[in-house]
């Protein structure tokens, strides 16, 4: 069940340069079914900006009815979002979409979680749930540079964690795909820039891979056809998938990216 709710902001802090961690409280948390789902946020009452902003749920606590998001301050919407303070209320539509299937790995298996930049956040809740289930998790997190790195300690608590930065200013120099080469695992969960997702899909066709896609959205609920992608088995697109309501998480091979 999707709801639209004015949620109270419990905390907001900048955890890396231009990266904010926002925790809110709301009834809609009870509706979250999987890690990797997202919410659609109206950052102001007015018309500027007009549309909602999709942001992934990075972790949640059903008892406390709390959910946390981590986002990068980019343009108008996220900049205004970053100005909101604890105690204020924000209009949230969610939870939306289908997330990462936790049931696809079993106790004892090893899952590789690969995140790039603002694709890292949704992997955190996933990591927590996999660990709780007895799955061994390895994290590979890619960032532009040291100042953009966040949550590496949180992930470290759950398991092996490798950080790569494009400029080498933190952890390994290079891309997550370089790091992945040296690791053993049964299945991959990943979220990040499309080129990264393509590379991973390409390199690990033998493995079970789950990718979280990004697309510009209108409604966020499946009504406007803004976020449609073609299915691999049917490039004509007669049948298709919507990133907002069928995704954002798909199994590699399901849709064209």
């Amino acid at each position: 069940m999707i709801s639209k709710e004015l949620c109270k902001i419990l905390s907001q802090k900048e955890i890396a340069s231009d990266i904010y961690e926002l925790t809110i409280e709301g009834e809609l948390v009870s509706q979250i079914t999987e890690p990797g789902q997202f919410v659609h946020i109206k950052v102001t009452n007015g018309l500027d900006p007009l549309l909602r902003r999709p942001i992934s749920i990075s972790s949640y606590d059903k008892e406390q009815k709390m959910l946390t998001m981590i986002y990068r301050k980019e343009g108008k919407g996220t900049s205004l979002l970053a100005e909101l303070r604890a105690g204020m209320f924000v209009d949230i539509l969610g939870p939306l979409g289908n997330g990462f299937p936790v049931e696809e790995v079993s106790k004892g298996d090893t899952a590789l979680l690969v995140g790039g930049g603002i694709g890292v956040p949704p992997l955190y809740e996933l990591s927590n749930q996999l660990v709780a289930k007895g799955v061994k998790v390895i994290h590979v997190l890619g960032f532009q540079t040291a100042s953009a790195v966040f949550y590496e300690e949180e992930f470290l608590k759950n398991g092996e964690t490798y950080v790569a930065t494009v400029d080498g200013s933190f952890g390994r120099k290079g891309f997550v795909t370089d790091v992945m080469k040296e690791l053993q695992f049964d299945c991959i969960y990943t979220c990040g820039p499309t080129p990264m997702l393509r590379a991973i899909e390409q390199n690990y066709q033998d493995k079970k891979v789950f990718l979280s896609l990004e697309e510009r959205m209108g409604c966020g609920i499946g009504a406007c056809f803004a976020c449609v992608c073609k299915k691999k088995d049917d490039p004509t697109g007669a049948s298709y998938k919507k990133v907002c309501s069928d995704g954002p998480v798909f199994q590699a091979g399901e849709v064209l990216i």
Binding site: M1, I2, K4, K42, L47, D48, P49, L50, L51, R52, L93, E215, R216, M217, G218, C219, G220, I221, G222, A223, C224, F225, A226, C227, V228, C229, K230, T236, G237, A238, Y240, S245
Partner: protein, 313 residues
């Protein structure tokens, strides 16, 4: 006694508020939020003979107080709309206005012929104004003679009244309106989107894969109001107005301009509950403004007495 019921060709509306075509899919998603029977009507997504995937993504871009879209008439095709979507909607007590699109005259005629037979389709909305399809489209929406001829052909096969959706991207919209009225249109819906573009500051390229897109939202409301104000004085058929409607007060402004009903598009994306909210707030606003019935508002901007003949049941 209701202040909101409106009688239009083919449409007994319990209230004059309906989601605009393409902004509500075929109703399934919004049925999660509220009972679709509260709506005056539903304008479903454009339907073409064959299924269409539409344009590449990105398909939407935000603008100041508006948005651009270039969906490209994606739809499952006539067969699936008749077989699955309309039956789904038939569980609700709400008249459907089917948005008819195509590339060639035959396409429009074929969709109209078949879809007008569906029991819950009470009217057609002839979409001669989609800015996002390469072929055909444009001419139908900008050349009076061609629009008139298409209207006539569709009227000939349709079993329900036909409303023609006008494009604002013309020099003289009154001329277009009169042409389709001559062609036998039972009503008009206006406006469709203005053609616009946004460029990515980093790449220099258009944000939309289709390059141009249709501008909708509050930004275009003044253009829509002005066009409805002009057209409603020049034709004898009713107008369903649209363009940036977000509040009950916007609805009244459209009626003042000359509309007899109002469609809500982009605002559904911002607030899924916008239609029921407006419907709920209208009576109080009418009360406050001193109107017994919303039909009294139609055309206030240009005439003393708002009531038009075709409102009286």
């Amino acid at each position: 006694m209701s202040r909101l019921n409106i009688e239009l060709p083919g449409l007994h509306l319990k209230n004059p508020i309906m989601p605009a075509s393409g902004c509500f899919g075929f109703g399934r998603e919004y049925s999660q939020f509220y009972d679709l029977s509260v709506l005056g009507a539903i304008m479903i997504k454009a339907t073409t003979v064959e299924p269409r995937f539409g344009n590449a993504t990105p398909r939407v871009a935000e603008t100041s107080a508006g948005m651009l879209n270039a969906i490209g008439l994606q739809n499952p095709g006539l067969e699936k709309v008749l077989g699955a979507e309309l039956p789904f909607l038939s569980q609700y007590d709400v008249p459907i206005i089917a948005n008819v699109a195509g590339s060639l005259e035959e396409d429009y005629v074929e969709v109209a012929r078949q879809i007008s037979k569906a029991s819950n389709v009470h009217a057609l909305e002839l979409n001669i104004s989609c800015p996002n399809v390469k072929t055909g489209g444009i001419a139908f929406g900008t050349i009076p003679e061609i629009a008139k001829q298409l209207t006539r052909k569709v009227k000939a096969v349709s079993e329900v009244p036909v409303y023609v959706k006008l494009s604002p991207n013309v020099t003289n919209i009154v001329e277009m309106a009169k042409a389709v009225e001559d062609g036998g249109a039972d009503g008009l819906t206006m406006i469709n989107t203005l053609i616009g573009m946004r460029l990515d500051i980093k790449t220099g390229k258009p944000i939309l894969a289709n390059r141009t897109g249709g501008l909708s939202g509050p930004a275009i409301k003044p253009v829509a109001i002005r066009m409805i104000h002009e057209v409603s004085q020049a034709v004898g058929i009713p107008i369903i107005g649209m363009g940036g409607v977000e509040t009950a007060s916007d609805v009244i402004e459209y009626f003042y301009a000359g509309a007899s009903a109002v469609a809500v598009g982009t605002a559904n994306f911002v607030d899924p509950f916008v239609c029921p909210t407006i419907i709920q707030e209208l009576p109080e606003l009418l009360e406050k403004l001193g109107f017994v019935h919303i039909s009294e508002c139609t055309g206030r901007s240009w005439k003393e007495h708002g009531q038009l003949a075709y409102h009286r049941a």
